[in-house]
Each structure stands twice: as structure tokens, then as C-alpha cells.
Amino acid sequence: MTQHESTYRPTTRAGQWLDERLPAARLMHSSFVDYPTPRNLNYLWTFGGILSFCLGVQIVTGIVLAMHYVPSDKMAFDSIEHIRRNVNFGWLIRNVHAVGASMFFIAVYIHIARGLYYGSYKAPREVLWILGVIIYLLMMAAGFMGYTLPWGQMSFWGVTVITNLFSAIPFVGQSIVKWLWGGYAVSGVTLNRFFSLHYLLPFVIAGVVVLHIWALHVVGQNNPTGIEIKTRADTVPMTPYATMKDFVGLSVFILFFSWFVFFAPDYLGHADNYIEANPLSTPPHIVPEWYYLPFYAILRAIPSKLGGVVAMFSAILILAFVPWLDTSRVKSTKYRPVYRYFFWFFIFSVLALGYLGGKPPEGAYVYWARFFTAYYFLHFLVVMPIVGVLETPRPMPRSISEAVLGGAGGTPHGATAAPERR
């Protein structure tokens, strides 16, 4: 799996015996202990570990919730209230799961933005990046189905609006929607199948995460300079160095997470979801969860139903093509004097779309949503290819160790700082 020499030495007889038959411990050791990590990773690189933590939390709390939850249109809402009121620490488990979904998305957005800034998608990490896009898509599906389960007003009407999008597909749209619903309208049948899939998807995600980590450990981590590892002096062993840094990042993240769990558990949700689903009463203002808002804004910015749906899905799928859209010679935006302004404007556009997605589609909101939607796509289709060709990158350090330690003189391990200079 990894392309360094394993330093794993089983110390017990049993360990040696097993190592000769199934070297699972060796695999873990070379993946997470002696695996060489670039020495200059900053805290943005702790989000990989944080995301694994988030997935674990969602799976564990989700399994416990499923023991008390009843996936039926008559009982779902009541069973959530039963969990909040009567199950021992049910309020806590449910808050962690609900807030955890938001935290998962906060972490994944930071992780994706980090990849975009430091060019982590560029060769040889294209497959690693595409696997990441697949995980993100699966997360969106899991999150969407999970939000259905409380069977509140926003659950019901959110599902109604989003599943209806598929009816825009020519010829087969209506049939697909009926097939998704399991009937002629969103009903308990829909809730049942979404519950089943919501339980399935996290394990699919876990499987793709394994591939993601595998691909990562084949090509090695990117780093803030975007320069590949050249010598051992550029690296430190993952454990204890990178893992310790991961723990610092994770501790701060859990602190932030806990604040919402204990002091603002409903802040990230919508009050209407405390009203039981009612097919006969439409809420005045249907909004999805905050983490879908940028895409919701793109959907509504296009003045045609099919066009909106295509734009929304393209906005996500376009990420998979970024490795080939970016023509820059260097990876890290740190050394790209022109592109960096476009990058930050892109981040601003996504945030702006998020704000606009939560607003009613009327008046100035629509025009701004169109403006930022246009930039969203221009950034990928025009800015990335053209700026990459025209821009002259800033001078770069010759190696990671030179970037960290400043000049060849400071290398503690001697010899190997910048071999190409000799």
C-alpha cells in the first residue's frame, strides 16, 4: 500500500505468528505510524482526521438513534420527541447526530477549499481528488435523506421539492419521481425507503473513504508548498508528529462542535421542523439545510426548471474535472500572484450563493444569484485554464525542508536539502 519501507517489528511471538499469515497490523503500522508525512503540513491538513471522526460519530450515534426511531409517517415525529424527552441521554445523542451533520459539512467544505487552494487535485492526485468528490456526493445524499427522517414540515416539503427536481428530466422524469416516492406523492413509503438508504449510505461512504486513504498513501500528501517530497529530510513519521497535530486540530474542532450540541442545538436547523409534516399545509418559505444553500441558489438562478437542475448538478460534478481544468505549472496558490485573487473571489461567491439560497427568489436576490452563479462556472471553465497559462509563478523554495528551515544550512539531518542544486 505505501511505498516506503515498513519499520514494523512485531515484539510478541503471537504478533510475529500473525504477521506471517495476515500482516494487518503491518498494514496499519505502515499506513498510520511510520508513514512519511511532509514536515510542513499546517492545521488545514488536520481536517482529514477530523472528517474520519465525524463519520464515526454519525455512525455510532445513528445506530443508537435507530434503536429508538420508528420510520413511519404516523410515528416518526413522535419517536423523535420520545428520544428527546424519555430516552436516557436521548436529547444528547440526537443533538450530536443533528449538529454532527452540520459539523461534517463544515469540515468537508474546509477540506475541499484547502484542496483547491493548495492544488491538491493536480497530478498525481487526480484519482484521490475524484474519490473525494464521490464521497462529497454521497454525503449530500445521506444528509438529505437524514433530514427527511424527523418528518417535520421542512423534512416533508424539502423532500417534495428536491425529489420533484427529477421530474425535469425529459421523457422519463415523471416515472423516476414516482419510482423515488413509491407512489403518487411523498408519503410514509418514501420515508421508509429513505430510512433504509440513510442507514446504508454511511457504510458506502466508509468504503470510499478507505479507497480515498489508499490513494492518498500511494501518491503521498500534498503540502502547503505544493512541492513533492524529495528526500527523507522533507518528511516526519506520521506518528507521533502528524497524529499529535491532528489531535490538536481535533480537540479544537470538538470544542466548537460541543458548543452547538449543548448551547445552540437548534441554531443550525429550522423551527418549522418542530411542526409535524402536513401534506395539506405548505410552509411559506421552503429552504433546505444550510449546507445545500449555495446549490439551491444556483438551481433557482436559472430561469428554466431543467436548466436549473442541470446547473445544480453540474456545479458539483465540475469539481471532478478540476485536475484537467487547472493548467498552472505550480500547485500551491501561495506561489500564484494572480490566481489567488480569483480563488478568494470564488470562495466569496460560494458564501454569497449560500446567503442568497436562504432568501426568497425575488427582486435583487435573483440578479445577485445569477451573477455569482455565472462566476462559479466561469471560475472553473475560464479562469482556471487561462490564468494557469498566462501567470508567472513566484520563485519557489527548492524543497520542503528548505521552505521550513530556510536555506540548506539549517538542515538538521544534514546532506539532503536540495539535491538538484548539486
Partner: protein, 292 residues
């Protein structure tokens, strides 16, 4: 079923274009103001707000009295069992008092071994009986309006700010660190105290009342609270504001009965994590000092 399907697909067609306006038309008076002019809701100071918030027992007990003597005529509270009224973190009535209270209600139970439903005295484990058997009966009695169950009312409402982008960022920076979760309570208080004479140019629909806080300003509920209507035993003032405040606090507890347990545990968890994070940080610095 077919009717539903139709209305949902038109819904989506509208979502694409001008969702707010189209839906408002479809919904009539309730959503008349759909997206635009949300009434401004003032923030109140609540004893249960903030990181160290706790309910005021005496206030919850007075609030229950208001609920029982006024609101319960039309509104249910089905997610609260009598026993909850004696549990820690709530009004904390005495166990005997709650038992007596439960026994003063008649509850349907059964079927018995003859297959018949029968009436018996309430027990602490029973939910508080609702005034109507179902929504249809409520609407029949209430002239078509449906008085919602109040168990989650402060959770299911919000102060509904429709703020500009700058105000949104401002309120995030203020509300997240302070743990502001009381928008629903603020709204319920504003509604209960928001009855007034309608503006001269406004024509109220038949049977409707003017309310400053209610979306669209036309509400079917008659002003429920009058000064001096309820006799408090602890000598608190018999004003509409006092009644509204007390019953809102009680309903906030009913919507979130584990609030005190949550906040008490939260303070400990945050302190623990703060110490852990600091220790881990210094351990990391010490470790990395060797390689930098």
C-alpha cells in the same frame, strides 16, 4: 392522492420562478406576508437563556396555572405527562400534588376484557388530555380554526428575522457565542401581548383579530389574557405581560424539558475540552520542538 401529486408538482414549478409570491396566493391569509415583512420581535430577558440559564420554578408553576386555567380550554399539551410536572428541571410540583392533579382528569382507557373502552381517573404516567379528540373536532368547535398543540410551540416558532447580509453576519456573531435559542419564546410572548386595534386602512376578515406579531396580522385566536383574570397565590402581579411571560416560560420548558440537564452538562464538557485542548497543544509543541 392524485390531488396531492398535482399540487406538489405545481409547487416545484413555482419554486423555480417566484416561489414566495405564488405560494402566498395558494395559502391565503396565513402566508400573506410570506417572505417580505416579518414583524419585528423584541428580545425578552429569560432566566433560561444563555450558557447558565435555568428555569425559575415559581415562574413555571405560575405558567402552568395560566396554561391550565386559560390555554387548556382550546390547546393541548400532549407531549407532557403529568409526572413530568414533578421531575427535576421543570416546575417541580410535589409528587402528591401531581397525583391529585392527574386524578382530577377523566381519561379513556381500554379495551377492557369485555372489549369496551372505559373512563378512569388519570395517573401521573398519563399525558395531559387534550381538549379535543382530533383536529376535525377542534375545527368544528373553533369555527374552522385549529388551535395547535402547545408542547413544542416555542421550538416551532422563531423570531423570523429576514435581515440584510450585514445584519445576518452581525446576528450570527452575537447569537452563536451567546447560545441564543429563545427566538420562539420571544415570538410567543410578542404574540400574547401583541393584540391591538387594527390600522384604520386595514379590513379584518370575519372572526379575525388584529395582532402585531402574527404573520399577516390576522389571527383567529381572541385575545386570551385579560388583566386580573388569574389569581396568583404568590402575590405576583396580575398583568397581561406577567401572565404572558409566565406561560411562555412554562411552554419553553414543555418544549425542552432537558434544558437544565443539557446546560449543566455543557459547561462541564466545555471546561474539560478546553483543558484537554490546551494540554494537547503544549504536548504537540514540545514534540515538534525537536524537529524544527
Amino acid at each position: 392522492m392524485r390531488g396531492n401529486f398535482k399540487s406538489t408538482s405545481t409547487l416545484v414549478a413555482r419554486t423555480k420562478g417566484l416561489m414566495g409570491g405564488a405560494l402566498a396566493l395558494a395559502l391565503g391569509a396565513t402566508a400573506a406576508f410570506a417572505a417580505g415583512e416579518a414583524a419585528h420581535i423584541d428580545r425578552q430577558s429569560w432566566s433560561f437563556a444563555g450558557v447558565n440559564g435555568r428555569f425559575d420554578r415559581a415562574q413555571l408553576q405560575r405558567g402552568f396555572q395560566v396554561y391550565k386555567e386559560v390555554c387548556a380550554t382550546c390547546h393541548g399539551l400532549k407531549r407532557i405527562n403529568f409526572r413530568n410536572l414533578a421531575e427535576p428541571g421543570g416546575p417541580e410540583f410535589s409528587a402528591e400534588g401531581v397525583k391529585g392533579l392527574a386524578e382530577s382528569y377523566r381519561v379513556e382507557d381500554g379495551p377492557n376484557d369485555q372489549g369496551k373502552m372505559f373512563q378512569r381517573a388519570g395517573r401521573p404516567s398519563d399525558p395531559i388530555p387534550s381538549p379535543y379528540k382530533n383536529e376535525q373536532e377542534a375545527r368544528a368547535v373553533q369555527n374552522g380554526a385549529y388551535p395547535p398543540d402547545l408542547s413544542l410551540i416555542t421550538k416551532a416558532r422563531s423570531a423570523g428575522e429576514n435581515a440584510s447580509v450585514f445584519a445576518t453576519i452581525g446576528s450570527m456573531l452575537r447569537d452563536i457565542p451567546s447560545g441564543y435559542q429563545e427566538g420562539g419564546a420571544d415570538y410567543v410572548y410578542a404574540l400574547l401581548t401583541g393584540y391591538a386595534n387594527p390600522p384604520a386602512d386595514m379590513k379584518l376578515a370575519q372572526g379575525m383579530n388584529y395582532n402585531q406579531a402574527f404573520p399577516g396580522h390576522q389571527i383567529a385566536m381572541v385575545p386570551p389574557l385579560q388583566p386580573g383574570q388569574i389569581k396568583y397565590e404568590d402575590g405576583s402581579q396580575g398583568t397581561v405581560e406577567q401572565y404572558a411571560k409566565d406561560v411562555t416560560a412554562f411552554l419553553a420548558w414543555a418544549g425542552d424539558p432537558k434544558l437544565e440537564e443539557r446546560k449543566r452538562m455543557g459547561v462541564l464538557v466545555i471546561l474539560y475540552l478546553l483543558i484537554t485542548a490546551v494540554l494537547v497543544y503544549f504536548a504537540k509543541r514540545r514534540l515538534w520542538a525537536k524537529v524544527h
